[in-house]
Symmetry: C2
Subunit: 248 residues, 2 copies
Amino acid sequence: MSPKVIDETTLHAREEEIMQTALEIISELGVAGLTIDKVVARLPYSKGTIYNHFTCKEDLLTGLCNRSVENVAALFERAITYDGSSREKMLAVGYAYMLHSQLNPTEFMLVISAKTPSVREKSTEKRQEEHLELENRLLGGLLKVISSGLASGELNLLPHLSPAQVAFSLWSMSFGTIALLHESLDRCSVRVEMQLERELINHSNILLDGLNWQPFTQDHNWQETIERFKKELFADEVQQLRAQSAPT
Amino acid sequence: MSPKVIDETTLHAREEEIMQTALEIISELGVAGLTIDKVVARLPYSKGTIYNHFTCKEDLLTGLCNRSVENVAALFERAITYDGSSREKMLAVGYAYMLHSQLNPTEFMLVISAKTPSVREKSTEKRQEEHLELENRLLGGLLKVISSGLASGELNLLPHLSPAQVAFSLWSMSFGTIALLHESLDRCSVRVEMQLERELINHSNILLDGLNWQPFTQDHNWQETIERFKKELFADEVQQLRAQSAPT
DNA sequence: TTATTAAGTGACGATGCGTCACTAAAAAAT
DNA sequence: ATTTTTTAGTGACGCATCGTCACTTAATAA
């Protein structure tokens, strides 16, 4: 059964297989329901083999988290190709983040879980570094748009505000909005009235206005821009989302 | 040892005692390190008694979370007593939130953990309702300030934006900023350059400008306002924070 | 004094984690 | 062709933790 040396490709494929199975378990039973024994039960590998890939449950979680961030980064990179103003591109990135969180609710929650110290501390050094690299890739996308906004004069940087700070403000706003309106978190009385897409666009517009990034909210038809996002950038994702909420 | 009927006050006191012990364990060992057995070991009560108060570990976590939200609410209520403009009061609330997160990092993380479905699902109905009530109390404070801003004309509500939406935008922005810059989360290369107090004030100002809430950032000395917060509202808390970071 | 009943106890079965002594089989050495 | 080496893979095991439940304790009622 076991050759002396295993193919690098096979190794990676199996790692993927393990993560996929873990993700399915989490979707069904929640993060707390994830058990190495359950993963083993669903796969033709033994516990020892699983532990050859991941040092512990937490390491597996971080692996899943990274896989998710990788997908987000790819979406961001698509978002910034939007044919429009720099502010529209910025909005596209936020919209991409939201789409991702809706299409992969389990994975979005995972990113929060994986940042928890108890999870992080136990993860491999290697996987933690990988995580930082991925986050930088995310921010790289944002910084590109900010530079182009500055270059075109559409964004007038406020005094004492660096491009990194602008990127961070958009990130944290999007993160907070999505996290608090996330379907798997509970809803308080205010939250039930809130709809993720609408609020995220609102918050983005408020923030971008406050950042002095033109065209301002009242000077542009943003609903039209969103429609174009749906058609030109994220047709597949929007389709999937419809399929997800409509059926049965 | 055991009377037939136990005093309501004693009961509550013991509940507090259990939560306090749990919090200490979490501070030392992280959320994952919390174990009912460890709680039992540190207290003169048996496991069965603990389980008379909390149905499971998760219920205990939610209890801790609620205790924390209660403290935040009290801080908020103090914040809105600030003698100044409505925008200053709004900033005071955000500042209070931040202070709380710095003074009680463990508890701030707990609120995130406790919102996780795996924790929430297992908690008592009673404690979940309690949680919703507490969150409403939080938002109540924000809504009060928003009304006064509207009444005084300092806040000009943008079209299609309700007071609740304004409150939510501030909440989610603060939450996102604090969560991403939280000391117990890991830092990516951008995050290391970011300082919580400075960024939170920046983000608040950007958002409040974008919301069209006067006086605008450039028309007021906000640093001075912050200094007054520290002296007039949160002298104790600032003192504690200094004591916490300085010693050793 | 006895009966009742709420409060408290801790041993126990069940589950999950991560390890390690062992097996299997490919490649290398003879 | 046979033996040796080496690496991948296995799963039973020891340990920790969870939540339960049959039982004890002691205050109140009868």
